[in-house]
């Protein structure tokens, strides 16, 4: 199950994209494509154990 802090957006205050991109509501920023694999729990990745942003937000 994807990270609860993951959203897909086309824009924020500093960016505007044609397609929706991974956005982290925990840090209020678009995330790097590599990190988006963690957000989406792809492969063997798990946002609960692999993402420091999630861990900090849950504390």
């Amino acid at each position: 199950m994807p990270c609860p802090y993951l959203d897909y957006r086309c824009e924020d205050a500093d960016h505007e994209f044609e397609a929706e991109r991974a956005y982290c509501t925990a840090v209020e920023a678009f995330v790097q494509p590599m990190r988006a694999d963690i957000c989406n729990d792809r492969y063997d990745l798990d946002h609960e154990t692999d993402c420091e942003f999630y861990a900090e937000a849950e504390q």
Binding site: F30, V31, P33, M34, D37, Y43, D50, E52
Partner: protein, 278 residues
């Protein structure tokens, strides 16, 4: 490769790392992500002096992709828009299962070259690309089977040890990419480049890759030491401090101009094939 090669005016091979898989348009809107964008960037980089293009594949939204199908779309787009450039596929993939890592080797036609990560590499707070010896051997075996020249990614001095250990298994000349930056890559300093170069086999060809603000000085130093240079938005988002690069071609063009000024002509793709015995 030696300083004598520089003095002799040996052509320098320029590799353009066009897109990567770590950052994307959120970091620099000029970074190509779609197959069409990557193909156009490859053509511009070739025109600016690149003889090799280093390719990654992405999903439609810019996120990473490792499948043969996605690499096929990228390599087709590149081949349709370039004249003679050498196609090099990445087999890197932090966090991706080993089973996917060989997928980029299976396009039709196969790439002439592919990257081969020589050991562990950390990312973020919790990720490690393990790159076990078993995986390295399996990827190398498939490259040999498909006639693909490996570029050994030497992220640090330990990876040079790993590379030296398999020298007998490599076709001549071995081609090593010396990587400088933060984290588990070599500390970016001229003395560390000198040390690594001094430990290379005599018949090896080497390339210099340095991240961010270290790209320009260390690749220039590599040119002076008789090596080759990789530049591009995968490794460096900026043209200078505070100024985003406009394109991959802008970064390639600057390094081509520096090499020519220093007395080393920029290799054509045909010359690069001769140097690397492709």
């Amino acid at each position: 490769m030696t300083y004598a090669d520089f003095r002799d005016g040996k052509p320098v091979i320029l590799t353009a790392a066009l897109t990567g898989g770590v950052h994307g348009k959120e970091a620099n809107p000029n970074l190509p992500e779609t197959p069409t964008e990557i193909g156009e960037a490859a053509a511009a980089a070739e025109a600016a002096g690149a003889s090799i293009v280093h390719l990654h594949a992405r999903r439609a939204n810019g996120e990473r992709a490792f499948s043969t199908d996605r690499f096929q779309a990228v390599t087709d787009a590149v081949r349709a828009r370039t004249d003679d450039v050498i196609v090099q596929h990445s087999t890197g993939g932090t966090g991706a299962p080993d089973a996917l890592r060989a997928e980029p080797l299976r396009t039709d036609p196969a790439p002439e070259m592919a990257s081969l990560d020589m050991g562990p590499l950390n990312r973020y707070q919790h990720l490690t690309s393990e790159n076990t010896r078993g995986l390295v051997a399996a990827l190398h075996a498939e490259m040999q089977e498909r006639g693909i020249k490996p570029e050994l990614e030497v992220f640090n001095g330990g990876h040079l040890n790993e590379s030296l250990a398999i020298l007998d298994e490599l076709d001549d000349p071995p081609y090593l990419n010396l990587v400088f930056g933060g984290g588990t890559t070599t500390i970016p300093h001229p003395r560390n480049l000198l040390t690594l170069v001094e430990n290379l086999p005599d018949d090896a060809e080497f390339n210099v890759l340095a991240f961010g603000p270290h790209q320009l000085p260390l690749t220039t130093m590599g040119v002076l030491l008789g090596g080759h240079a990789r530049v591009g938005l995968e490794d460096n988002l900026y043209y200078r401090e505070g100024e985003l690069a406009e394109s991959n071609a802008q970064l390639v063009g600057r390094t081509a101009e520096i090499a020519e000024t220093l007395g080393r002509p920029v290799a054509t793709p045909a010359e690069a094939r001769t140097i690397l015995d492709l």
